[in-house]
Subunit: 338 residues, 2 copies
C-alpha cells in the first residue's frame, strides 16, 4: 500500500446520512517544513486515484516535492477512500450514501488540520472534479487557501454536463448485470458502453480528425485500439457502484449549496484569493464559456485558456505541451506574494 488512511470516524454527510468509520485515503509528496507554510492540496478527479495525479509533481515543476508538501486526498467513492466497494453494510454497494463536494472538502480539511496541524495552504489545484473540489476549498475555507488553480472543471456542474453524465449513467446501468448495484461480478458490458460514450466527450473533434491518438505521445494503433485500450481500459479498472457514486457527486456539484451562501454567484464572489482558472479550449463538457462566466463573479481571478486539440484531457497529464502550459501557470501563481 503506497498511501495512508486518515480515520474520519462517524461522519454526518450534507445530504443527511451518517457514514460510520469513514476513511480518507491520501498520499503526500515532499516534507512539511517547520512552520508548516509549504502545503499544497491537489484532489483527485472522476475515477482517478492519487497516483493518477502524480504527473504534475516533480523536480523542477511547480509542484516540486523538494519545495512543497503536496497532499493528494482521494475523493470519496474512488475505491481508496470510503466507497461503495469498500464499505460494510448497511452502506455497502448501491446503498453507499450520497457524498457532495462540500463533504469531500470538509474531510480533507480535517486531514490537513487534525493530522498535520496546517493552518494555511499555499495552493489548492486539481483537474476536472479535482477543480470542483478546488473551488469548494476556496468557498469553504477562504481564509486558509492562499491561491487556487482549478483546471478543466467548474464551481457548479452545468446542465449540459449533467446531460452528458446522464448518458454515461444510462449506458452503464442498461447492462442487466448491474442489477441495481447488487452484482457479484462487475457489469463489464455496461462499463465498456459507458467508456465508449465517454470517448467522444473526453477529447475534441479536432483530436479525432487529426488522429492524434495514433501519434506521439499516445501511439495507439487505430481508433478501435484507442477505444478499447485507453477508454475501456480506463473504466474497467473501476467498480460500477463507485463510478455511479462519484457521478452523483459530480452531477450535484455546486459551491452555491455551501451553508451560508445563497447560490453560486454569491459563493463565487466570496473567492477573494488570487485564482487562475484554466479551461481547455475545446473541452466539450467543461467549455471555456462556463469558466468565463464564473471568473466575472470572482474578484481576483484570471481566465487562461489551455490552447489546442486535447479537449478535456488537456488536463489529464497525457500531453507534455499541455502539462507545460498548466505547470507554467502554477509557477506564476505560486510566485505571487499573497
Amino acid at each position: 500500500m503506497d498511501y495512508e488512511i486518515f480515520e474520519l470516524g462517524d461522519v454526518r454527510l450534507q445530504q443527511g446520512a451518517t457514514l460510520s468509520d469513514a476513511k480518507l485515503a491520501f498520499k503526500t509528496y515532499g516534507e512539511l517544513n517547520a512552520d508548516k507554510s509549504n502545503a499544497i492540496v491537489y484532489p483527485t478527479w472522476y475515477s482517478g486515484q492519487h497516483y493518477d495525479n502524480e504527473w504534475l509533481i516533480g523536480e523542477g515543476m511547480a509542484l516540486d516535492p523538494a519545495k512543497y508538501f503536496v497532499i493528494i486526498p482521494n475523493m470519496l467513492g474512488n475505491g481508496l477512500s470510503s466507497s461503495p466497494s469498500n464499505t460494510p453494510a448497511p452502506h455497502d454497494r448501491a446503498s453507499f450514501p450520497r457524498v457532495t463536494m462540500y463533504d469531500n472538502v470538509r474531510f480533507q480539511h480535517r486531514l490537513v488540520t487534525e493530522r498535520f496541524g496546517i493552518e494555511r495552504l499555499e495552493l489548492v489545484t486539481g483537474w476536472s472534479m479535482g477543480a470542483g473540489q478546488t473551488y469548494q476549498w476556496a468557498v469553504s475555507f477562504p481564509d486558509m487557501v492562499k491561491r487556487i488553480l482549478p483546471f478543466c472543471g467548474s464551481a457548479k456542474t452545468s446542465r449540459h454536463n449533467i446531460v452528458f453524465l446522464e448518458g454515461v449513467k444510462a449506458a452503464l446501468t442498461a447492462d442487466a448485470a448491474y442489477a441495481g448495484g447488487r452484482y457479484d461480478r462487475q457489469p463489464d458490458i455496461g462499463i465498456r458502453a459507458m467508456s465508449r460514450v465517454y470517448a467522444g466527450w473526453g477529447f475534441s473533434q479536432q483530436f479525432y480528425r487529426e488522429t492524434i491518438y495514433e501519434r506521439d505521445p499516445l501511439g495507439f494503433a487505430s481508433l478501435e485500439d484507442f477505444l478499447v485500450s485507453f477508454w475501456e481500459g480506463l473504466f474497467l479498472k473501476r467498480d460500477a457502484n463507485n463510478l455511479l457514486a462519484m457521478l452523483w457527486t459530480w452531477q450535484n456539484a455546486d459551491v452555491g449549496r455551501t451553508p451560508g451562501f445563497r447560490g453560486v454567484e454569491d459563493a463565487l464572489a466570496a473567492i477573494r484569493m488570487p485564482a487562475i482558472v484554466m479551461p481547455a479550449q475545446q473541452d466539450l463538457y467543461f467549455p471555456p464559456e462556463d469558466n468565463e462566466w464564473e471568473v466575472k463573479h470572482m474578484p481576483r481571478a484570471e481566465l487562461r485558456v489551455i490552447p489546442g486539440a486535447w479537449g478535456h484531457f488537456a488536463g489529464g497529464g497525457l500531453n507534455p505541451e499541455d502539462t507545460r502550459f498548466i505547470d507554467d501557470a502554477l509557477k506564476e501563481l505560486l510566485r505571487l506574494k499573497v
Copy 2:
C-alpha cells in the same frame, strides 16, 4: 397509409448482399409539371420518416408544393422502406444486410427515373443523414442534379462522429434484452439509454445553459421532462435493429467510396453544381470545420453557417428562426439560373 411504395425488386447492395423484393417508401408533394422540370428530392435523416421532413415544405416556402414536385424517399432501415423490422427471413432483424448511402441514392434514382421519368432535379436537399444522401446524389448523378443544399451533415462521416455513434450503439446494445437483435419486445432500457446519450450531442452547451428547452417553441417543464418526453420519446417509437442498421449506414458514409472515385477529396472535386453547405454553428457532431474543409474541395460551393444555440437540431425544424434561415438559403439557391 399516407405514402407509396416503389418496388425495387431484388437488388445487389454495395457490400455484396442481395436483398430480395426491396421496397422504397416515398411520398410526393405538389404536381410534376409537363416537362418534368420542377422536381426536388429531399431524403430523410437518422430514424426520421417522410412526415418528419414536412416542416420544410409549404405555401410561400422555398419547397412550395404549388411550384415544385417534392419527393421524400425514406431511407432504407427507417421502418417504411426495406428495414430489419419489415423484411422477411433470411434478411430479417439483425440479419438485414448493410446498406450504404450509395445504395440508398441508387434506389432513389431508380424511383425518380423509372417511376416518374424525371431526367433532371432542380434541387437535392436534406438534414443530417439527409445531407449525406444529398452529397451522394451530387457525386453519383452529377449531370442530373442542378443544385444541392446539404444542412448539418457531411460527405464523409468524421472519426469523431463515428465515436459519438459508438457510444449510442454501445448504450443500446448494453441492454441484454437486445439479445443480438433476436428480441421479441423492443429493448426499451437500451433505447432509453441511447436517447440519453444522444441528448447531450443533439443540442449545444448553450442550449442547455440557457434552458432553451423550457421556452417557446419547445416548452418542456424541466430537464428531465425534456430527456424523457423529447429524447426517449423520439427513439422509443423506433425499432432497435432499424436504429442499428441506419447507424451502420451513417458510420460508413463516404462519397469517396462511390465507384470511379479515389477517396472523398476526389469525389468532392466532382461536385460542380452550385451548392450551399449549411452547418449549424454549435453542432457537436457535424461541426462547421468539417464542412469548411469540404467546401474548399468543391468548385462552386458556399459555406453558410446557421447561427445560434440549437446545435445539430437547428436543422430539425423545431426552431422557426433556424427554419427561416434555411428556407431563405433554399430560395436563394433555387432562384439561381443553372
